[in-house]
């Protein structure tokens, strides 16, 4: 039981990493090898850090518009809610959505235990075709001009596919372009409401979280399909308002991490950096032991994030929005340069241009996800 201390340490580290804009837990995993922990302690530490990281990464995505691979789409509805003065609510509903999917992942685990090893090979074969349908649907449900964004994003996706350049790609599409528009339009933040100002009922939240779990149970085990793509697919299944969409995306981010651990134990596939790390020390640990760590660390991360939400939004409120936007813009550029180099900056410039173009054409920014979807289709076919 002394190993529970490692769970707390993991939660602490994960929360810190998530709060730093542009930071991803995958950047830190190589250093975990240097820790002289036992296998058991590493399981506690890595799983707890990964779960806490997902929860706290909602803060920079919503407040600063700095996405990672998974929170790319959170930036848009989050930004809208921040401008309306509902930053606190946006964070709270994201956290609640995240916690609900952890709860719902339990019945799904029972299903996976029985059917995943049998169904997995079949689902894997039809995924490219499902993505083609999604792509066609994306085009048909938007203005005709969306083809420009689909094509440009796909080209950029192909050009960057063999490099680890997701950060500049997604920062430009969803983060930097949004911040530039806000900055140039002189948009100002309404006074922030410091209480839960949500019209979402618990049943609404539960239904959306269940959809997250369900969609992720289909796509979460398939290679190269990120949680953002699942969020994009979800938005075409049902119409969501900003708040609902944020819950869907947050839930998908969290459940993706949960399922990545399930995939390692059930079908021996790695779907996240953390799962890759654990696969090296994985022996025959029980899936229910892993579920226990997930539940405990998610609950702890949720409670700490809940406590952090008010002070962080208050801090945000005190800042001048235009200055903050400018600061965020500089920060995104600096993080991209530091992590992706000069070529990353070039990609950031291209993806920001496409993001701005989609805004001026009046088409949905979600079409930029073609940068991930199209290369994925080509690879899988």
């Amino acid at each position: 039981m002394i190993d529970l201390v490692f769970c707390l340490m993991g939660v602490g580290l994960g929360l810190l990493l998530g709060l730093v804009p542009g930071m991803h837990i995958n950047n830190f995993l190589p250093f975990f090898v240097l820790l002289s922990f036992t296998n058991n302690q590493l399981f506690f530490f890595v799983i707890a850090a990964s779960m806490a990281y997902v929860f706290s990464s909602f803060f920079p995505a919503i407040l600063l518009g700095v996405p990672n691979e998974d929170t790319a789409l959170n930036v848009l509805p989050g930004h809208r809610l921040v401008l309306e003065g509902n930053a606190y609510s946006a964070i709270l509903v994201s956290l609640i959505g995240g916690l609900l999917v952890v709860l719902f992942s339990m019945p799904f685990l029972l299903f996976f235990l029985n059917f995943l090893p049998v169904l997995y090979p079949t689902v894997q074969k039809i995924v490219p075709y499902i993505l083609i349908i999604v792509l066609i649907f994306m085009f048909l449900s938007d203005k005709k001009q969306s083809i420009v964004i689909l094509v440009l994003s796909s080209i950029l996706g192909f050009l960057t596919f063999n490099f680890n350049l997701l950060l500049p790609l997604l920062s430009g599409f969803f983060g930097l372009s949004t911040l530039l528009i806000s900055f140039l339009n002189r948009s100002s933040v309404s006074p922030q409401i410091m209480r839960l100002n949500s019209k979402l009922s618990l049943s609404n939240l539960s239904v959306i979280s269940f959809i997250s779990c369900f969609l992720s149970s289909i796509f979460g085990f398939i290679p190269a399909i990120s949680s953002s793509i699942v969020g994009a697919i979800g938005s075409y299944i049902r119409k969501f308002d900003s708040e609902e969409f944020l819950v869907l995306l947050s839930g998908t981010n969290v459940v993706y991490m949960v399922y990545s651990f399930f995939a390692l134990f059930l079908i021996n596939k790695t779907r996240s950096g953390s799962a890759v790390f654990l696969s090296q020390i994985f022996e025959k640990e029980s899936i229910f032991f892993i579920l226990g760590i997930i539940l405990l660390s998610s609950a702890l991360a949720f409670l700490i994030c809940l406590k952090l939400a008010r002070p962080l939004v208050k801090l945000y409120k005190r800042l001048n929005y235009r200055k903050l936007s400018l600061l965020s813009i500089f920060f995104i550029v600096a993080v991209n340069f530091a992590l992706a180099g000069p070529f990353g900056l070039l990609v950031l410039l291209a993806s920001t241009s496409i993001g701005l173009l989609s805004n001026s054409l009046g088409v949905k920014r979600i079409n930029c996800m073609a940068a991930l979807i199209v290369p994925t289709i080509v690879v899988l076919i």
């Binding site: 058991n40 029980s286 226990g292 539940l295």
Partner: protein, 112 residues
């Protein structure tokens, strides 16, 4: 309604998580306690205690301890050289046959 939910659900999840960790923790699964028992099956999780009789290095540089428990002996792979001959060692890990001998590959080692 949300606020009630915010307080209770995480606590319930944490409690359930703790129960699962307690019930399914690998150290709870380490049931075999005597070296004789371990040597018979030489598989699966084990938890044994004994005195380090001899520490040696294998041909490829691995540190190996010979553990003695009331005359019964077994070989344990050690990750570091923090142990001395004559020390009492508690080993939690997996037993496995290798080169016609029964070995213990520890997850956790405690010494006194």
């Amino acid at each position: 309604m949300h606020l009630v939910f915010l307080k209770r659900l995480p606590l319930l999840l944490a409690l359930f998580g703790l129960i699962l960790i307690y019930l399914f923790s690998p150290s709870q699964q380490n049931t075999a306690t005597s070296i004789n028992q371990v040597r018979k099956s030489c598989s699966g999780p084990v938890a044994i205690e004994g005195v380090i009789e001899r520490i040696s290095y294998s041909s490829n540089g691995n540190l190996i301890a010979e553990l003695n428990q009331n005359g019964s002996k077994i070989l344990v792979f050690l990750e570091n050289g923090l142990f001395d001959e004559g020390q009492n060692l508690s080993v939690f890990g997996k037993a496995s046959k290798f080169s016609n001998q029964c070995w213990i590959f520890p997850d956790r080692v405690e010494y006194r």
